[in-house]
């Protein structure tokens, strides 16, 4: 259906030379120049300068194939899915459901019934807190989250705890931004009924040892939700291998559109859970006396969904599927190391988040210059970074800072862009000298 478009795409060209003779294992031939051509926005200047987009942890840019596929859907297939007997409704349903299967395979879930379309990671977490939480969390129970969570994996659990009379327990972290696994083990008492942790930190870049943490909780029969929003663009996700009970993520951080995300849930858990919202599409039959709910996944998908978004998400998965992830990972590692070294060399600059295992995210502070002023000055050179608390105020409190500046990398970033970033930081220092 979309084959022609990405036959033309250059991403297939990417390859990696592992264990090259006499060389290091990370010698790659990842062709970032070809990848960049897939992203039209990179060709549009900002403030008269070439765009250097380093705000990927907030949202990634979209490749042409995703934009074109969403356009194609609206041009050729637009109609409402499910139940329609006409030609277009059938086409739209097929495209939407095909996307669900692509996503299922991408994260290695065992059935498309375990793939619930949502508005994004935040709604996915809220769905579990509302539906699973209200049914299973009671007075005196505890929910364990970590010190590095995004507000979206804190607040839904706080609301639930308040409503149910339960308590929140926090896994602490060290000064490098690594969770203290020994402390986590101590928290896992018989009172704990749920664990919710992020896979990759948006504020620090830390990659948490998620498989170990899940298995530790499972030893106590505690289900685990993983906030995968920041992991999906950097890592290959296998929910079966990691044995996650719930895995939440968004399309827009992995080169798909905004407004669509996924809740993966283990089938037995989802089946036992009450609906999250009532409405159309989530029912089998309705009378004023009684409603029979629909089967998975529709039970959790009330109302007309973001169909074009789902279709675009499918196209993003196809795009990623044509990229050799091992090759990209090696490239990203090199870029992260390069940027870390370059930034650490700037006088007065401190990197916040120095975990051993990190994704392509660098948070930093500059002595005497507030992150917002850094952001404004970098923007003048066409450099987009994020400044502020990154929706992780407890992380800022942990490190005793009001905010950080954050550069986060995507498929298309280069060492040359890092060089420009470092030059612009020196310019900011010059302004405030």
């Amino acid at each position: 259906m979309q084959g022609e478009t990405y036959e033309e795409s250059a991403v297939k060209q990417a390859s990696v030379v592992m264990n090259a003779p006499g060389g290091r294992t990370t010698s790659t031939s990842y062709d970032v120049g070809r990848i960049r051509k897939d992203f039209p926005i990179l060709a549009a200047p900002v403030n008269g300068k070439p765009l250097i987009y380093l705000d990927n942890a907030a949202t990634s840019q979209k490749p042409r194939v995703v934009i074109e596929e969403m356009n194609r859907y609206y041009f050729e297939e637009n109609s409402n899915i499910h139940r329609g007997v006409h030609f277009l409704s059938d086409k739209a349903t097929q495209s939407y459901e095909a996307a669900r299967v692509k996503i299922q395979r991408w994260i290695n879930a065992s059935s498309p019934k375990e793939i619930i379309f949502t508005r994004g990671t935040t709604e996915s977490v809220n769905l579990v807190a509302y539906s699973f939480g209200r049914k299973n969390i009671n007075r005196g129970d505890e929910i364990v989250i970590s010190a590095m969570e995004h507000h979206s994996n804190i607040v839904p659990w706080q609301i639930l705890c308040e409503e149910r009379g339960a308590a929140l327990r926090i896994i602490p972290m060290n000064d490098r931004g690594e969770l203290l696994i020994d402390e986590y083990a101590k928290l896992l008492s018989s009172r704990v009924k749920f664990v919710a942790i992020m896979h990759v930190s948006n504020a620090l870049g830390t990659v948490n040892p998620i498989k170990t943490m899940i298995s530790m909780a499972h030893e106590h029969q505690i289900p685990v939700l993983v906030d995968g929003a920041q992991a999906v663009p950097h890592l290959r996700i296998d929910v079966t291998d990691m044995d996650a009970d719930f895995y939440a993520f968004s399309a827009h951080k992995m080169y798909g559109p905004t407004g669509v995300g996924i809740l993966y849930g283990r089938r037995a858990l989802l089946e036992a859970m009450p609906p999250y919202q009532g409405g159309g599409d989530m029912i089998k039959s309705v009378t004023f006396e009684k409603t029979i709910y629909n089967d998975l996944p529709n039970k959790f998908e009330a109302g007309t969904p973001n169909i074009a978004g789902g279709v675009g998400f499918g196209a993003a998965i196809d795009y990623l599927d044509h990229i050799d992830f091992a090759s990209f990972s090696a490239y990203e590692r090199e870029l992260l190391d390069y940027a870390t070294e370059a930034l650490a060399g700037v006088k007065g600059l401190a990197i916040i988040g120095t975990a051993k295992h990190k994704a392509g995210v660098i948070s930093f502070v500059l002595e005497g210059i507030h992150p917002h002023d850094i952001g404004t000055i970098l923007d003048d050179d066409g450099i987009a970074i994020r400044t502020g608390h990154h929706c992780a105020q407890p992380v800022m409190q942990r490190f005793g800072i009001p905010a950080t500046a954050r550069a986060s990398f995507g498929l298309y970033n280069t060492k040359e862009e890092v060089d420009t970033l470092v030059r612009a930081i020196h310019k900011a220092i010059g302004v405030f000298r």
Partner: protein
């Protein structure tokens, strides 16, 4: 670089580096917190009101150069002014940073506030520049003790 120079004028850089009236005011009879939840800028503004007159003013807290310099310039400019004079200055200042009105008629009223003329080119920074003023306005007009930019 020119829009940037307009934003980070000497006056702003100076007040950011050495903010005036940057302390707790022990004799204050009004105190208000100003907070920008989007970026975490956070200040406390202290006032010593005597009748209608702002007899003394100070502030504490942390934030970007624009918000800190704005609080500093504001504190030096409204000291000794009446409530009404301070509110009028806020209106003039607000017009300046939002680019609503750059009529020459208002320029003479601005004094040091003119240093913030570059802010209007940076819509994302208007809240930084006006945070302290919103706090002052709230302190003068009500007894609430927290004001946010949202």
């Amino acid at each position: 670089m020119s829009a940037l120079r307009e934003l980070y004028q000497e006056v702003i850089l100076d007040h950011n580096k050495s903010p005036r009236n940057f302390r707790k005011l022990e004799s204050a009879n009004r105190k208000i917190e100003g907070y920008n939840p989007l970026c975490g800028d956070h200040y406390t503004v202290y006032l010593r009101l005597e009748g209608d007159v702002i007899r003394d003013i100070s502030f504490e807290g942390a934030g970007c150069a624009i918000s800190k310099a704005s609080a500093s310039v504001m504190s030096s400019i409204v000291k000794g002014k009446t409530k009404q004079e301070a509110e009028e200055l806020f209106t003039v200042f607000h017009n300046l940073v939002t680019g609503v009105n750059d009529a020459d008629g208002e320029l003479d009223k601005l004094g040091k506030l003119a240093a913030f003329s570059g802010v209007s080119e940076f819509p994302a920074r208007v809240k930084c520049a006006s945070l302290a003023w919103h706090s002052l306005h709230a302190a003068l007009s009500s007894n609430d003790n927290v004001v946010t930019t949202e």
